[in-house]
Subunit: 766 residues, 2 copies
């Protein structure tokens, strides 16, 4: 394999397990003495708790323990801002807030017991609309907001959040927007909305928690962030991290719905009180109602453009409804501020993002958080601008979009910008401009996204006695193919072995080193660096041992064809396999370690044009362009997506099968966001928490998806690679919306593009 | 804790799990789709296989697979000499030889199916006595012996094994024994025997094997040697090691009965054919009949002594019955050659050890292999010699036993010899010489033992964000307290933290680095070195980071009271906890690695007086003396052990509770060996394979055991420590036998010292 492993079309190492149903997920686990857990959830969107009486529940035969706030340390926890209680004490803040947990011999008994817990509530007025929530007249969801603790890097920005029910605020100011708008030939002002959505992984949250006699807690959980879970469990339950072990078994999809440590401390507390292993599986209804959805967004955008199509000013106001707690709100706010203005040179720019508390579930960083919603808005708006100045949408974008060295919205100088190449190649492949039948249309959208850096990771690479390799990495693989697809290729490349000689052990906080988690499209980018360093460490040890045996300096050696030879003297060589076989009896086992942390991109904070951002720059940004082709039935308003061409600048495709898989998956989710997905609420209660009423695309809804891999290397990426997990989902809804408008002349400004809304827009168009 | 962790009386980290029954053993494991395995065992001690027909078994409802030699690669395997087939093909060699394996939905069906397998045997004459087996007239057990493959270091000695049914031969020649004997004033010649015994762990062999869709095999097995199991499974089934994972859960005792990779490949093969996870538990009867017992021994010893008590010559011939296969025979042979001559200066010495094949179970390296048997013989003989010259047994030993710098039997110059101190302190504590009531007697015995070196190991020590620590080590802990007792103390000592902040993850070939296994009293000795190096690596990383922050060289820093400070400037310091909390965001997680391999003791092979030894020197030898006090009922011959004083030179007791526990446990096993334990055979079939008829000591049989820890540091031991697992079992039977003789004047020369034999000896005495 040698020099051709990277970039080869090699199946991932877990492919057979996944496709044959052999993989053992958290929900499949059994332990001796396993008991079942069930949460009591708040039936009210907002209420004061007067009394919790668990007596009757505890007396039900088969009940082992009932856990409430009285059984856990009286603390608030949270990854960024500490505003969460494991079990509610004084107040519930949404329909689904966890009040108690029951552990019983079987699930049915646990369900029965939950009903026997008596809670006296004093119902409070609730607010479930973000704009309403911002009004001083609305009920306050966190009366004690200003007293909450935050992690040190957020302290200053947190202090600045003073508004009513405001969770976070990010703003960008560049140039002079008012003057820019005044100087424009055309000014366009529009409002777009996107509803609450959901990552909708096929596997709902699933956990098994167990405690040994020494008090050590082990939680097997379908999580994207085992190490964050460890920290949160330790903090919430006052345990040292060495007494908390989090294992993430294979994960049946995450998409950000599993990227917060959230119910892990609860189930751990239940196992501790019950002194029994506890399994808790979310029902689909629970997954939808209290799982971690995508933020509903309202995007108000106003732009000024010259007659020749030059964008001169843009003002964007984004309101994100984040639900009852902070969780990752500040991060989603920051990301939204980067996506909302679009991928264009705009000298005068003002962006305001408000992330607002409501009495709804806490939204999360669902794949490309804030991306699809804001890009749908700004890219629809961009098409409208092009129309105003009479330009073709592709041409308009080529005129205004970023090039190498341009300045991004926050003052970051952009490098490795493959945006125009992506756009040109996507347009070409989609036969942009070629006439289409009536009621057919093509639409285009652009987006960019970051590769999360700044969290170090370590890996170990062990060279076994027979020359085979075991990689230990803290990285999860929630389906992306990074861990089981990309990383083995790095080892194969660097050691010159086949991937079937490689085993990957991952995502166990006790046996694999720290990794921040499967978020921010960061896994391959960060881990591949560490893996390469670990292989170098392995090689160094081999060279040292070979040097001793050959009586030459390790520096004079090279590795070639399974041997370590003196440079220029190929006969003076030792087979690697001899060194590995002898290792236990000579220098000891060969274990290589790689530790890596990507420094944040160069950026002068004094020149920053952004406030309240936890991510003022995009590291190793990837740039994408998608063209969608649709047919709209003018009688029914029904949209059929005929084709999507998705071009993405991935820096370098280490694992092309994985990259294409990510693009396919992203586009499919983008189609769902565009056409059907919507969590519907009535008085704070989600009314469609099932796959009949919350429609994700079926296989029959998926058109041909053509992928274009643009390779514009990132200078700090491993072998040039950039993150690829999230970007593909971001432009799809915008491209489809623009295609619908191209097909019909009618613009729908609210996601999803339901037939009713299309018909309504057609009526408006007249 | 800081500088006082080592040597403190700190409970081991797994103590609560073990004592409360919370520990999950291999037999407790469950997996989705778990099936049950059962072996078909040979009913004949020696027979040719003409035909195996599995048809009827396969047709039984509930049977998933029947596995025979046809289902596995046609190879012979074995750790030292390749003479084992997983499933027998042409021949069976003992009652219990594995012929086939059945996998079924439940155990009862598996048991039924085993009976339905039809095997045509041609019964061959069997030989079950070692001396008989050595005769040219006896049946040959391995016709093809000379064609077997061996590992390269044994090749030459293996070639020299030409005798009939001889598995291995070791010999020592020093001085001129014939002349020495001729010059002696007294010559004494005696023969002693010891029967087949058994480590008799409370947990029989227990395995669960599972195969994933990629063909990777995982075996959870109660083994002392997971990494050897990995090698053997990979070799036997033609898999790369990266496709074999061995996990040793907590082990319910090993004592050498679980120190060979033996049935793991079989159960793996069964899981592969069944495509289902398979659990196989030995019954107690199987554990006794086909488990790995202690070698029966016959020891013929002849010594010459001067009137003044000076030993001048000794000739020892040891015959060890090793059963049907080589397994660890060469190692047991080598160890026997070191123990059989005793711990004395003997200028003229000849030792011959023959390890002989018989049609019996394959014996293993049970705790102190060949030690208790040969030391019983030589120490009984030594008492007899003392009597001949009219000396007190302690005095006689003090006159002849080794001192610092003496030469051992193979030419090794002995260092760190705490033998006389152990003897003197044991005698003093036992009130040696103080008169006893009638029928009471005291006896003494000496022994030495090695600490196994020469196998490297590695560990990782991870410093978590909150300053707690996770140790990953390949070492098993089969009850010795090394891994969960001693190693945490090394970390606590070196990092200045409490042991409750430490978590130990161990004995999993995929997540913990190579370790040879829990054999040869080697764990603490080798692992503690590696742990210390790993902690140094952690500290180096902390110092580097602190140096960067304080803008000083890491060399100018010191760690004190939880801080890293500039030497001499205590105010210029950074808390370790700040460095750990920041680690993921700065240099990455702090993972320390320690790799260590103890070089073998200095020894000039040209001066070696030994041939056919795989262990010509004893590394970091420990020296022990035990005094037993017994009462003998002259009417019944019944022996009551009243007290045992056990002194052991352990170099340094890192974990005193563990050291004392090892001594207690060893003496208890020694009492069983002395008084009751014996596997009885009739025509090749063990007739007492149960705890009613094979009697191990009950708690009511255990007298007060007084321990004396002698600390005579080993210069290559971690902090001076030597191995302590095996030595305590070795002298006990000899001391008890000598005590019985002191009480009665009658000597029993065969173990165990049953009432019948005592009465017989009393009759002989008259």
């Amino acid at each position: 394999m040698a020099t051709s492993a990277l970039g080869s079309r090699s199946p991932r190492l877990d492919a057979a397990d996944k496709t044959t149903g052999k993989a053992i997920f958290a929900g499949d686990l059994a332990l001796p003495g396993l008991a079942w857990g069930k949460f009591l959830l708040s039936p009210h969107a907002h209420a004061r708790i007067r009394r919790i009486d668990t007596t009757r529940a505890e007396q039900l035969p088969g009940v082992i323990a009932v856990v409430t706030h009285r059984d856990v340390p009286d603390v608030l926890v949270g990854e960024l801002v500490k505003d969460i209680r494991l079990f509610q004490k004084d107040k519930v803040r949404y329909i689904g807030d966890i009040v108690a947990g029951v552990v019983a011999e079987d699930l049915r008994t646990a369900e029965e017991a939950v009903k026997l817990i008596e809670v006296d509530y004093e119902v409070l007025p609730a607010v479930t609309d973000a704009e309403e929530a911002m009004k001083p007249s609305s009920p306050l969801i966190h009366e004690e907001h200003k007293s909450y603790q935050t992690i040190p890097p957020l302290a200053e920005a947190f202090k600045a959040v003073q508004g009513h029910n405001i969770c976070w605020h990010t703003e960008i100011r560049k140039g002079d927007v008012e003057r820019g708008l005044a100087e424009a030939d055309h000014v366009l002002e529009e409002t777009y909305t996107a509803p609450m959505g959901h990552g909708a992984p096929i596997e709902p949250h699933a956990l098994v928690a167990s405690v040994d006699a020494q008090g050590k807690v082990t939680v097997w959980t379908a999580t994207q962030v085992p190490f964050v879970c460890r920290e949160q469990v330790a903090e919430a339950l006052h345990l040292p991290m060495s007494k908390v072990r989090i294992i993430a078994p294979p994960i049946g999809g995450g998409f950000g719905a599993k990227c917060q440590a959230w119910v892990e401390p609860n189930v751990a507390a239940m196992a501790i009180k019950a002194r029994r292993p506890v399994k808790l599986l979310f029902t689909r209804e629970e997954e939808f109602m209290i799982g971690q959805p995508r933020h509903p967004a309202k995007v108000h955008v106003k732009s000024g453009v010259k007659k020749d199509g030059t964008l001169v000013a843009r003002q964007v106001r984004v309101i994100l409804d984040t639900g009852y707690s902070t969780m990752l709100g500040p991060i989603v706010s920051s990301l939204g501020s980067m996506c909302a203005p679009g991928t264009y040179r705009i000298p005068n720019l003002a962006v305001d993002v408000d992330v607002v508390f409501t009495n709804k579930p806490s939204c999360s960083a669902v794949r490309g958080p804030a991306g699809p919603q804001t890009v749908f808005a700004v890219e629809s708006h961009t098409d409208h601008l092009a129309k105003l100045v009479g330009m073709d949408p592709v041409e308009f974008r080529l005129k205004n979009c970023w090039d190498e060295g341009d300045e991004g919205p926050t003052g970051q100088i952009l490098q490795g910008v493959g945006l125009k190449e992506a756009l040109r190649r996507a347009a070409e492949k989609a036969e942009w401009g070629r006439p289409l039948p009536p009621n057919h249309g093509r639409g285009v959208a652009l987006a960019w996204w970051l590769t999360l850096a700044g969290f170090g990771c370590a890996v170990t690479v062990t060279l076994n006695e027979d020359g085979s390799v075991t990689l230990q990495t803290g990285a999860v693989d929630h389906g992306t193919g990074s861990t089981f697809g990309g990383l083995p290729l790095v080892i194969a490349e660097e050691l010159g072995i086949e991937t079937d000689q490689i085993s990957v052990i991952n995502s166990d906080t006790d046996t694999t080193p720290f990794d921040y988690g499967g978020v921010g499209s960061r896994t391959t980018f960060n881990q591949a660096h560490a893996v390469r360093l670990a292989v170098q460490d392995v090689k160094r040890q081999l060279f040292e041992r070979a040097g001793q045996m050959l009586e030459v300096s390790p520096d004079d050696l090279e590795m070639k064809g399974g041997k370590i030879a003196v440079r220029g003297v190929p006969d003076k060589a030792i087979p690697v396999l001899m060194l590995t076989h002898l290792a236990p009896f000579t220098g000891g086992p060969i274990v290589g370690r790689g530790t890596f942390n990507t420094p944040p991109p160069a950026f002068d904070p004094k020149k920053a044009t952004v406030k309240g951002s936890v991510s003022p720059t995009f590291n190793a940004p990837s740039f994408g362009a998608q063209v969608a082709e649709v047919e709209v039935d003018p009688e029914t308003g029904n949209i059929t997506v005929k084709k999507v061409v998705a071009a993405l600048d991935v820096g370098r495709a280490l694992n092309p099968l994985g990259v294409e898989g990510q693009i396919h998956g992203g586009v499919v989710q983008g189609i769902g966001i565009a056409l059907t997905e919507r969590s519907e609420f009535s008085e704070g209660r989600m009314v469609n928490p099932n796959f009949v009423d919350f429609k994700i695309p079926l296989i029959t809804d998926i058109p041909p998806i053509e992928t274009i891999v643009v390779e514009n290397p990132a200078d700090n990426g491993p072998y040039g690679a950039k993150g690829v997990g999230e970007p593909p989902v971001i432009p799809t809804a915008g491209a489809i919306a623009n295609a619908v408008c191209a097909a019909t002349g009618a613009r729908v400004r609210d996601l999803p593009l339901t037939p009713e809304r299309v018909l309504e827009a057609l009526r408006r168009r007249g």
